[in-house]
């Protein structure tokens, strides 16, 4: 059975990826699953400098969902290289570096640094962070700023370049066309959904930053809609994600045209679940008389 899939130049042995922020820098997952058997892992979002993230509480449960306000805490590029890189060289899975910055310059800086690391197979740009230079509004919500950012990053990244979008991307259609022209290799769809929670006992918002990102099964129907819309607006390959907990969920994304899928919040609850989904997809293909993953991808229009 051929489970291989492609994201532009990047070939994955199977379409199951671990999503950024839910599998650390890979090593934390070792007690639970064999990293070499997933299609790829996506590292926790990294910036050039370490970033301490948001004050607690950072996690809040909702009905079939999780809200997080981690605030992109990370150890910074240099400590990542020190602590994790040589360990990552001992595994054979594909590694996608998720990167972000508070300014365009920071974005370009981290993208360039990652591009130079041999062990990194692709760079995934998280465009949903607040732009500190332009008043804190997210890069994703201002079309002009976003396009300039993506163009600039493409110029410094030789490796596979993925852009991770969410539900708040400005002028989706225009932005997708722009990314095609600039030579972006693929899209990760979707990041978390902006959401709010109120603590009625203490009469305050649950999160200090007010808004936090909703993920998990609650958002799956919304994520599927976004992937479906994006699929019909561009031919760029898509990593579909949002609430995938089991094989059937993954199949839904693949059927509507995602070339790969990522498991996020599900890893928190069951860090081995990706390794149930890989054979799950395989069994489905067998049961439906298909002999390659490509027969499945995009079968539902």
């Amino acid at each position: 059975m051929n489970l291989e899939t492609r994201l532009g130049p990047l070939v994955l042995q199977n379409p199951v990826i671990l999503a950024s922020g839910t599998c650390g820098y890979g090593r934390e997952m070792v007690p639970f699953l064999d990293l070499d058997r997933v299609g790829a892992i996506t590292l926790k979002g990294l910036s050039v400098m370490p970033w301490e993230g948001n004050p607690p509480p950072r996690i809040h449960e909702t009905a079939a969902g999780v809200m997080n306000s981690i605030g992109l805490e990370n150890k910074g590029f240099h400590r990542f290289v020190q602590d994790d890189l040589s360990w990552l060289e001992t595994v054979h899975t594909r590694v996608i570096a998720n990167v972000w910055g508070r300014t365009e310059e920071e974005y370009i800086g981290i993208a360039r640094l990652m591009d130079r690391l041999e062990r990194i197979d692709a760079v995934e740009v998280n465009v949903s962070c607040p732009n500190v230079e332009k008043g804190g509004e997210s890069f994703a919500t201002n079309c002009r700023v976003l396009h300039q950012l993506i163009g600039a990053i493409r110029r410094v990244v030789q490796k596979t370049l993925l852009v991770k979008i969410g539900p708040t991307v400005a002028e989706l259609e225009k932005t997708l066309k722009f990314m095609e022209r600039e030579g972006v290799d693929g899209l990760s769809v979707t990041n978390t959904f902006p959401a709010l929670a109120v603590d009625s006992e203490r009469q305050c918002l649950v999160f200090e930053r007010k808004v936090a990102g909703l993920s998990g099964p609650a958002i799956k129907p919304l994520a599927l809609k976004l992937v479906y819309d994006v699929r019909h607006l561009t031919h760029l390959p898509i990593i579909g994600m949002g609430g995938i907990m089991k094989t059937e969920d993954a199949l839904e994304f693949l059927l509507i045209g995602a070339s790969a899928i990522a498991v996020g919040t599900a890893n928190l609850v069951d860090p081995a679940v990706a390794l149930e989904i890989v054979p799950g997809i395989e069994s489905y293909l067998v049961a439906h008389g298909m002999n390659r993953l490509d027969d499945l991808i995009g079968k539902v229009r």
Binding site: F32, P55, G65
Partner: protein
């Protein structure tokens, strides 16, 4: 994911439950202060697993003791022998195990990891005194867990109850401490509500001796990937992570 069978479940008073689970591996490698993440059902409500400290280990089983406070612990309390749960663990670091002498200070359900620690000290022949304080008479059902350490235990209850010291665990410790100088190499181990730790940070005695505290925090994963369990560092900026860097910290390390 792999399912762990429930081997026994006992209600303690109205709101505490002891849950015994099969698990040779966890029983074999767990150290006092470590915890497990446990899921109550196959459904999404609640969605996340819950962190619970390890109370004791037997040959091929281990026990947890928890208080019913919300939906997750309520569902756990309804388990029956033969049901299964999903468990990750043991997780986190544990307490240091080789002091010359130990003082254990537990508030309420903070008793859990310290009972495991005290059994270790008892076996290893390390002298210790176990202070345990509760808010009200209801929580005194847990006193049975201290029976085997009884001569070394000092119990107190904030509500007046005959036979128990009246006041907080810290008042009873403070009066004891005046007449019991600790030998060098001694350590203090504490687990309880945040308020207890905050008071301890202000009591000068605890600056003169290494104090290991076991913290609680809302957890996403329990194994270091989500960075959800952040607690502010005392010195400098940034956060430690309870599941990975803890749950045991030195008292001065953390902002409470």
């Amino acid at each position: 994911m792999k399912q762990t069978p429930v081997t026994a479940i006992k209600t303690r008073g109205g709101s505490f439950v002891e849950l015994e689970l099969a698990g040779k591996e966890i029983a074999r490698v767990s150290r006092p202060g470590q915890f497990v993440m446990i899921g109550a059902g196959q459904s999404y409500d609640p969605f996340l697993k819950r962190p619970l400290g390890i109370l004791s280990v037997q040959e091929d089983r281990f026990s947890l003791l928890f208080q019913i406070v919300g939906q997750g612990t309520k569902l756990l309390s309804q388990l029956q022998p033969g049901n299964t749960v999903s468990v990750l663990g043991p997780l986190g670091n544990g307490f240091s195990l080789h002091p010359s002498e130990a003082v254990l200070i537990a508030g309420g359900r903070g008793i859990v990891p310290l009972v495991f620690l005290a059994s270790h000290f008892q076996q290893a022949g390390i002298p210790f005194t176990f202070f345990w304080g509760v808010k009200n008479e209801l929580e005194l059902v847990l006193a049975s867990y201290l029976a085997s350490f009884s001569p070394s235990c000092v119990l107190s209850c904030e509500e007046a109850v005959s036979g128990y010291g009246c006041g907080t665990v810290l008042t009873s410790f403070s009066s004891w401490e005046k007449t019991h100088p600790l030998r060098s190499g001694s350590r203090v181990y504490a687990c309880g509500p945040q308020g207890m730790f905050r008071v301890m940070q202000k009591i000068p005695f605890f600056s003169g001796v290494p104090v290991e505290v076991s913290l609680e925090a809302r957890m996403g994963c329990g194994f270091g990937v989500c960075l959800g369990c952040a607690v502010k560092k005392k010195e400098g900026s940034g956060y430690v992570h309870v599941c990975k860097d803890g749950p045991v910290f030195l008292l001065p390390e953390v902002e409470l």
